[in-house]
Symmetry: D2
Amino acid sequence: MIIILEKGVRDEQIEEIIKQAEDYGFSIHRSTGDEQILLGAIGIQSNFDTRKIKILEGVSAVYRVTEPFRLASRGYKKENTVINIGDVILGANEIITIAGPCAVESEKQIMTIAKIVKDAGAKILRGGAFKPRTSPYSFQGMEEEGLILLRKAGDEFGLAVITEVMDPTRVELIYKYTDIFQLGSRNMQNFPLLRELGRVDKPVMIKRGMSATIDEWLMAAEYILASGNENVMVCERGIRTFETSTRNTFDLSAIPVIHQRSHLPIIADPSHATGIRDKVIPMALAAVAAGTDGLMVEVHHDPSSAMSDGPQSLLPEQFKELMSQVRRIAEVIGRNA
Amino acid sequence: MIIILEKGVRDEQIEEIIKQAEDYGFSIHRSTGDEQILLGAIGIQSNFDTRKIKILEGVSAVYRVTEPFRLASRGYKKENTVINIGDVILGANEIITIAGPCAVESEKQIMTIAKIVKDAGAKILRGGAFKPRTSPYSFQGMEEEGLILLRKAGDEFGLAVITEVMDPTRVELIYKYTDIFQLGSRNMQNFPLLRELGRVDKPVMIKRGMSATIDEWLMAAEYILASGNENVMVCERGIRTFETSTRNTFDLSAIPVIHQRSHLPIIADPSHATGIRDKVIPMALAAVAAGTDGLMVEVHHDPSSAMSDGPQSLLPEQFKELMSQVRRIAEVIGRNA
Amino acid sequence: MIIILEKGVRDEQIEEIIKQAEDYGFSIHRSTGDEQILLGAIGIQSNFDTRKIKILEGVSAVYRVTEPFRLASRGYKKENTVINIGDVILGANEIITIAGPCAVESEKQIMTIAKIVKDAGAKILRGGAFKPRTSPYSFQGMEEEGLILLRKAGDEFGLAVITEVMDPTRVELIYKYTDIFQLGSRNMQNFPLLRELGRVDKPVMIKRGMSATIDEWLMAAEYILASGNENVMVCERGIRTFETSTRNTFDLSAIPVIHQRSHLPIIADPSHATGIRDKVIPMALAAVAAGTDGLMVEVHHDPSSAMSDGPQSLLPEQFKELMSQVRRIAEVIGRNA
Amino acid sequence: MIIILEKGVRDEQIEEIIKQAEDYGFSIHRSTGDEQILLGAIGIQSNFDTRKIKILEGVSAVYRVTEPFRLASRGYKKENTVINIGDVILGANEIITIAGPCAVESEKQIMTIAKIVKDAGAKILRGGAFKPRTSPYSFQGMEEEGLILLRKAGDEFGLAVITEVMDPTRVELIYKYTDIFQLGSRNMQNFPLLRELGRVDKPVMIKRGMSATIDEWLMAAEYILASGNENVMVCERGIRTFETSTRNTFDLSAIPVIHQRSHLPIIADPSHATGIRDKVIPMALAAVAAGTDGLMVEVHHDPSSAMSDGPQSLLPEQFKELMSQVRRIAEVIGRNA
């Protein structure tokens, strides 16, 4: 923490500031210039509320100089985290594609789509059974029946599966069926759920909250890591901005930023970021070019009758074509897919 | 829903669009101008995904024309919702103040603060027992012990109490102690929790999510209303924008907007909106001038040793002075406090 | 500037960083802790691009610790800037109201409105003659004829006048007629215009850019101050956020923030912030309660035939009522109006 | 324009609304459903202020259903605008790269960099002579001397040139030297400058304002098109959001959105979007994958001594490698570079 003192600060004020900071456990180094005095407060307290110093008399500004997270940081672990899910290796050189419908709707639907995405090259099958819906009047998912069907489809076609968990009380149930837990955007700071997911021995994918900074997103990862689960990946799915032409603004710069600041793998979800089919393909390719470790894409064989998010689901032919382009772009940047 | 057709749309495309919309349950009225054709699609389906029509060929744009919420809307209920909590009447002419510490820390602390806020004119005592913290390493609250102390302080000083619930599994426990449930910003779209709170017979205050539009905020209220609980109030606590001088941007315009679009009472929380003590007072007064039905303010008798949010807590003398100014501004706009 | 070094930084890297910073004119103080090394770089270079240090090897982060502006800062000048415009004193205890139509439309219009606002207590008359319009097809203002009429109305009713300048080539023309130059939001960073306005001996009011941080806004003021014109005031008129219920989000917290960081007076414009008449009054009152030094409000005697911004203009009776409430709220916070 | 009436609207209110809309020049079609009445108001008035109807009694909401721009829209012109600048063809199948330093600093500098970018495959040389700087104390550009050097470098190496114009009074001077006018982000709504650029017979590239919606950006293009200059291209360079890890948030989804809504070519500028060298390459590749028609990249042979934006400039070797990857990704999506 760096403490910048006001011009004209009095000696007794400085002493009081130093005393308080020392009481909070910091050791203080003082730099006095002609026009300015700085205090360097050394000590690892990643969760210290810097406003406690900021409100003291004579303080002009305070800067936090350590990352607020620790286990999630690149400083803590230099090499990339690589996650093994059966045969699938996520976070290494290969770009992994997760595909499937927004929600599991019936056995026929999930089986049909599982076959399509497997044939095109996807490695992981997605499908919601408990759906977070903005409206209480919308379809809320097939619940356990959906989980059973998702598992069945994954097993049938040799795909790992991922599904969303919205509630700490369902972790145990979902654990029986899924390979990866998805934590949705709206739950990125659902702390009881984060702690619960820190106790399971299966990977967790944390979607970025709609207005979450990269710091807060990695802090959510820190919750899970600190509770003992090391298999965490993060997923960029668009942030909320003033622009309304697309459902969200897909923040692709987050990909190189995460790679620099953290060792955790990052997935990109162009379907939720854009919200409309014809924008999904260019944004998926852009994510690959930007260096994503994985893609998550909604696919439906009959989107017009999908019970949710049909308009943003790719048609089977589109997905096949996308996968072929993904492989070629991966190659350009020295990866494979 | 209004469907705007593209210029040069062909007749068979129009027929297909009309057919699809009718299949979704709408009845269609067609308006043909020299340069443009519009289709008015009448039918109450507040949760219809308009993108289903938008992706059809020949469609240029689609506009939803009904509020996505129903029970929360002013159209559904003209008169203001008035909530009775013991002697306290919230949503009527009197501006109600909720005050207290961020978190319950000890019996002595909560008793001391309860007395201070009661003497100054507050009607409801706040105090967290389960705290949502960005960092897993921060103080997480006193849990049930905190609830017991909060209840005791409320009873001792004749104050109703409010405390936060973060988890559907704790609703029952918290119900035993609290008068009002607080749903925090990060849980505004925690749908399992919303549904759970729809089933209790005590009022709920929904804090606005950091990036929630007013529509989404009222949709969260709709979840609770639709589950049977009519005693809902909303709380503006700042939204996330590009400006970082204050912790959040306090969106005071939300007050007249909520009053126009909904019958639910609105509370304003300048402590979380600004995040720093010396901005709380002017913003509290501004909220009153803007027409808020209630204020929520953090107060601490010894903020420098508060376990959370000390820097944004008012000192007892400041709170007393604030309450006196609140009363006088209330009078200017024809209310009382 | 504070330079945070990476963990494990090598000695020769540290030497190179220090050398570079010294070459840029800084003197360096080093703080070495157990886990972290900080370099305090002292030297006033308010416009130094800190990224030059950030990209050096071994650097983890760099923080600017001086305000990027100097003349506009409270540190530079402790007492409030008070601006005299004839009899009107802006920036002292009295809250000054600027009122009038969006645009001057005719002699009859501006005379009628001038009388209304004067009678209700306004001190300054507003009226655009050169209008910045998003659409090239909209009314663009009466140009010099509008200036002549504005001046005439001001003189007739003893009101100072303010009007917008959009173009450095019109400064001379507008100077002949106006008492205060208004710099619009879209021109907040029109640097040639800022420099030109730094050379005139009349006050300038700088509207905040729609996405301008408070730092950037005060930097715009710095341009004018650095060119020699000390009579600068700033005007909050709403920022762009994700919320679309109001035209902009009125950032009232900017009022106490500006008062803390700068000595310049601040005006609040609820008409442009909200964009719709029935939100203007509560937001005007809120601005006064928050401590604004002045209000700018659009008023029109016949808004339905106004050539621009009629829907956000107050009716004469509304304005009169507003002024009466403004005076009473001013009194509550120890000011007058 | 669609007018949604309130529930319970009275007949005489409906008549008044219809009368007013007709007076404004619209013809009205009425759709009456069981629960709702809609009025379709047909008539092309792209700049009509819909708030004029919104404030009438009995109106619940008003929606604009025509694009606010006309000449810039895909509806007005189906085929892509292709701009010829000497041998360079922009807006066709080839992805064009614009490269060079932020500012022209000396003859040696611009000649050195021109050779580097030409050799690597750039077609257009960039270099600022009049620089918009946030701080009045920063380097403001070499002015006409810079223009002379830029032209000389372009001619020497067979590159077209682009440079920024900040002021209507400099259009004539800059016209003598440049092939393309660049309109900067901060001037996107500098209407006098837009009109002036509408009168020249050289292409204009409009950078997106930091908080400009895509509508407003295309409205700026409309100003130039409506004044008679058809050679307009737009440039995405990042928007302002809450995320501060990168200087701006690069809105790559704008690329497919612009292609859908307009016939104008789009350029992507990853240097200003990210603000730091190591993020420029992945974001440049992402822009190509997303379908951009051109790239604008800052390159400097000695960035540590650049007078502006050195930290975001690519080194010569990086640029060469980038160009090679750009060509290969272009091929994957069926284009060339």
